[in-house]
């Protein structure tokens, strides 16, 4: 599917805007309102859309978790059925990873990368919009199955129920006959397409759009981590894409990839999945490490300790991360040598990760620490992630893992790294950059209340799970007996989860309140260090009136300490740019949205390939194939028009008094 990408060879970024020669439709120009959001190519708007959707799904995923916890509160509970439970944990895992944490990171990539590198946008703005809408399509495909619980005639067979890593052969037609699995396969495939396209865009942006003077070794750490993450994405996702193609072929065209009676080996799925899956967990954690590496220096008022080593260890984590996937398969009977090799390689990852922890502590050392809310979440991150990392190392000892694999010990491990790690850092980041993008502060006191609720609730929920796991409680079990010694632990964890839920609710409720009522703030409320704080909050559409010249790491900190030099430089830049016709801005476009719509139609119908099409009670088509192809044609023609449309664009002119005027035409 990534082949669709090639069409973007036609995005004509780079040469002067040609006169529109192919206007079937007027190009949208609205700056506000629904249209402006649907057709936007502005990285900040796209970032906010990503963020908004991701938070919505985070709450949905959390709600699913609360249902799971409620079911497990007491032994032999009959709150929900086994089937629903299986759907819930599958969708909880899938949602949290693919629809909450990944897009939240994508939101920050969009919001921050161009600002941190002193650029006006990403390298391919329309492609960026395409990634966003494609992501939405994937999210719809994954979740549409829930509808059959509300409308029984929508016969999807419920939401997917195969676990977030969908081990073959449970995904085969013989064991999962309903469409929910097809929707899962295509949903993930589409999300993968979205991520690859987005990542290619970010790679080009970071490598090629840096402001003058911004060498790679001056790049903010967050941007570095975004770069590494993007590489991980483009290199890891193909493995799962192929694995998904193979399942899809098995389900729809009778191939034998994982079909045991035809000689297929289901273990191949596990390998291909984890070749993706392990780098994936670093995809989830590296950007959070980036946020923390920005927040700690800000609130310690000191540069990051050992910048080159932090950067290098991030790269090392990404690289080693490709060689450890089989630690998820210690119990599959790989033999002694392979097990030993993966065991040792996995332990090796603790070293570069440890380096980061040490350097964060080094950053605090000798600093002037102010414990604002983002800082509290960032410190909480260090503590909690460290604990999660330790249980990771315990897993890496393969023989011990034989007792832990698929038990609640694993659940404890990965919630410590995913919530205590990734989520804490994301909550820190949201709080930290909120003033930048909304121009308002979040009240400290309420932020702190939510932090403590979350911190305590989180530990109450997941710490007991280590012991539940050691005490033999298997994961993905919908019920358990009362004589197993798991009653107290589960009861405790469930109350913890409710507390955590209250904390999360408080956190977001306060954000919503602040959106309207928060105290208005200036450019740089935290006395921060990187370029995004040098521009107004919220940032203007063109980001920088003058593209900054970077003289040092922590460029804004340098600017703050060398005000005169910088002011003169900026005035010159503005003049130079105006002489070239002003600031060039790309036009909005319908086609990213249209092509994603085509993809939705195509993929949705493809999932139902072997089902007849019924309309108004009559069968009208023998299969969904023609509709699926129609979707493909819609997508392809939208991409074609996109190619012919070109980036076009207009110019902004900044007067001496800071007033911005717009002009069209020009070149």
């Amino acid at each position: 599917m990534a082949e669709a990408l090639v069409k973007h060879a036609f995005t004509g970024a780079g040469h002067p805007p040609a006169k529109a020669t192919f206007d079937l439709m007027a190009r949208p120009t609205a700056k506000t309102g629904l249209l402006s959001w649907l057709t936007t190519v502005d990285h900040k708007k796209i970032g906010m859309l990503y963020g908004g959707f991701a938070i919505l799904f985070f709450l949905i995923g959390g709600l699913e978790a609360l249902m799971i916890r409620t079911q497990l509160m007491v032994p032999n509970n009959r709150f929900i059925s086994a089937q629903l439970y299986n759907e819930l944990f599958t969708m909880h895992g899938t949602t949290m990873i693919f629809l909450a944490v990944m897009p939240l990171n994508a939101a920050f990539f969009n919001l921050l990368i161009p600002l941190q590198i002193g650029a006006r946008d990403v390298a391919f703005p329309r492609l960026n919009a395409f990634s966003l809408w494609t992501w939405v399509v994937g999210a719809i495909l994954l979740n549409v199955g829930w509808l059959s619980h509300f409308f029984p005639s929508w016969n999807f067979g419920g939401a997917p129920d195969i676990g977030w890593f969908g081990y073959a052969p449970l995904t085969s037609k013989a064991f999962s006959p309903d469409i929910s699995t097809d929707l899962w396969v295509l949903g993930l495939q589409v999300l993968g397409l979205s991520s690859i396209v987005a990542s290619l865009n970010f790679i080009v942006t970071i490598i090629n759009l840096r402001a003058p003077g911004l060498t790679m070794m001056r790049l903010p750490v967050f941007t570095w981590m975004a770069l590494v993450t993007s590489f991980l994405l483009i290199l890891a996702l193909p493995a799962i894409a192929i694995a998904l193609v193979e399942v899809m072929m098995d389900r729809n065209f009778g191939t034998n990839f994982f079909e045991v009676s035809g000689g297929g080996q289901p273990i191949l799925w596990q390998h291909l999945f984890w070749v993706f899956g392990h780098p994936e967990v670093y995809i989830l954690i590296l950007p959070p490490m980036g946020y923390v590496s920005e927040i700690l220096p800000t609130f310690a008022r000191k540069p990051l300790f050992g910048y080159p080593i932090v950067v290098f260890s991030g790269v090392a984590i990404g690289f080693i991360g490709f060689g450890v996937w089989s630690h998820h398969m210690f119990t599959t009977g790989m033999g002694t040598v392979a097990t030993a090799a993966f065991s040792i390689a996995t332990m090796a990852i603790a070293v570069p990760t440890g380096v980061k922890i040490f350097n964060w502590i080094g950053t605090l050392w000798g600093g002037q620490i102010t414990t604002r809310v983002p800082m509290m979440f960032a410190l909480g991150f260090i503590w909690m992630f460290m604990l999660g990392g330790f249980s990771g190392v315990m897993h890496a000892a393969a023989p011990a893992d034989a007792q832990q694999q698929d038990s609640y010990f694993v659940i404890a491990h990965f919630h410590y790294v995913l919530i205590g790690g990734a989520t804490f850092a994301l909550l820190a980041a949201i709080h930290f950059w909120f003033p930048k993008f909304f121009g308002r502060m979040v009240p400290e006191v309420w932020g702190k209340v939510s932090f403590w609720l979350i911190f305590v609730g989180f530990n109450c929920t997941f710490f007991p799970m280590h012991f539940l796991g050691l005490n033999g409680m298997p994961r993905r079990t919908w019920t358990y007996d009362s004589n197993m010694g798991w009653n107290e632990g589960n009861m405790f964890a469930t109350w913890g989860a409710y507390l955590l839920g209250v904390g999360i609710f408080t956190y977001f409720a306060v954000l919503v309140w602040s959106l309207f009522k928060g105290k208005v703030c200036g450019n740089d409320p935290w006395d921060a260090r990187t370029l995004e704080w040098s521009i107004p909050s919220p940032p203007p559409e063109h980001n920088f009136a003058a593209i900054p010249t970077v003289h040092a790491r922590d460029a804004w900190w340098y600017e703050k300490t060398h005000k005169d030099e910088i002011a003169a430089e900026k005035a010159e830049h503005i003049k130079a740019e105006e002489a070239h016709g002003g600031i060039h801005m790309p036009d909005q476009s319908w086609y990213p949205l249209f092509s994603a719509f085509g993809l939705l139609v195509g993929a949705y119908n493809f999932a139902q390939l072997h089902h007849p099409v019924v309309m108004f009670g009559n069968q009208v088509l023998a299969s969904h194939l023609p509709l699926a192809i129609t979707g493909g044609v819609i997508m392809a023609s939208a991409l074609y028009l996109w190619a012919l449309e070109g980036p076009a664009g207009y110019h902004l002119h900044i007067a001496a008094d800071g007033k911005v005027t717009e002009s069209r035409g020009g070149h």
Binding site: E3, T21, N208, L209, T255, G263, Y640
Partner: protein, 277 residues
């Protein structure tokens, strides 16, 4: 802006508006190709894993393959790569006419390759009785070479679009003309997908491809007519908005096309030749 760019000579390899001097599109494509390596890496791994540990009753490749045909296809693909390189070379020197010829030639060779593949699949299915589902070798072989074939087909489509684009008029076309143009493109895509793709799938299942082709003679004729119409409407007598400054676009497609070629180089060795030892 006419085809012979007024901007003077262009340094094709360095773009001074980017930090590294590498044009954005070129970087995008190289990054994508790095990613595509993993795609084919996973696919080829799947094929080899099953090939090296075959289940009982697996198909025997050497009894199925037709190495002469495959060698010929390999040669054809190599030559199309040459034409592609020449097309890029031509546009970099502002030679639009030669660019068009080379693009058409590349497409033509690509189509021969695809035709060879269709023939090969048809032959394997009917003469050799190897289908997608009756052996694991069939599953991995068709999926791997089919994915490669899909890449080639997409390449041909892109080249076609690029060819049409070389005629993009400098002064704007009429609305009606544009609509006709779009409709023709849709018809071509619709025909090729709605009939051709299911036919191909059915062929791999065991249906007879020449029967399928003749059964759908009319729609294919309609498709061919529409294709001719697109090319007709695309032609412009006047000044065109395409020239040396678009070299990067042609070069991008070229990168993709060459990549598909090198993937075939590997497939040819790993999937075909090594079987004969």
């Amino acid at each position: 802006m006419s085809s012979h760019a007024a901007t003077g000579h262009i340094d094709h390899h360095h773009d001074h508006t980017t930090t590294t001097g590498i044009p954005n599109k070129k970087l995008l494509w190289w990054a994508f190709l790095a990613s595509d390596c993993m795609f084919f890496g996973a696919l080829i791994s799947t094929h080899l894993v099953y090939r090296l540990n075959p289940p009982p009753g697996n198909a025997i490749p050497t009894q199925i393959f037709n190495i002469e045909l495959t060698s010929f296809s390999t040669f054809i693909l190599l030559m199309s790569s040459l034409l592609m390189a020449l097309a890029v070379n031509a546009i970099q020197h502002g030679n639009l006419k030669s660019t068009r010829t080379m693009l058409l030639g590349t497409m033509f060779f690509g189509c021969i390759f695809l035709g060879g593949q269709v023939y090969e699949f048809d032959h394997f299915v009917h003469a050799q009785k190897m289908t997608l589902s009756n052996s694991i070798f069939g599953s991995t072989f068709y999926t791997l070479t089919g994915t490669h074939g899909t890449h080639v087909a997409i390449g041909v489509l892109l080249l076609g679009m690029m060819y049409v684009r070389t005629f993009k008029p400098a002064t704007g076309g009429g609305l009606l003309k544009n609509i006709v143009h779009l409709a023709a493109v849709c018809v071509v895509m619709g025909v090729s997908f709605i009939w051709f793709v299911p036919d191909l799938i059915q062929a791999v299942y065991g249906a007879n491809i020449s029967e399928l082709l003749s059964a759908h003679a009319k729609p294919y004729a309609a498709g061919a007519a529409a294709l001719a119409a697109v090319f007709w409407f695309a032609r412009t007598g006047g000044a065109v908005d395409f020239g040396e400054q678009n070299a990067i676009d042609v070069e991008s497609i070229g990168l993709y096309w060459h990549f598909v070629d090198i993937v075939w180089i590997i497939i040819f060795t790993a999937v075909y030749l090594l079987e004969y030892l």
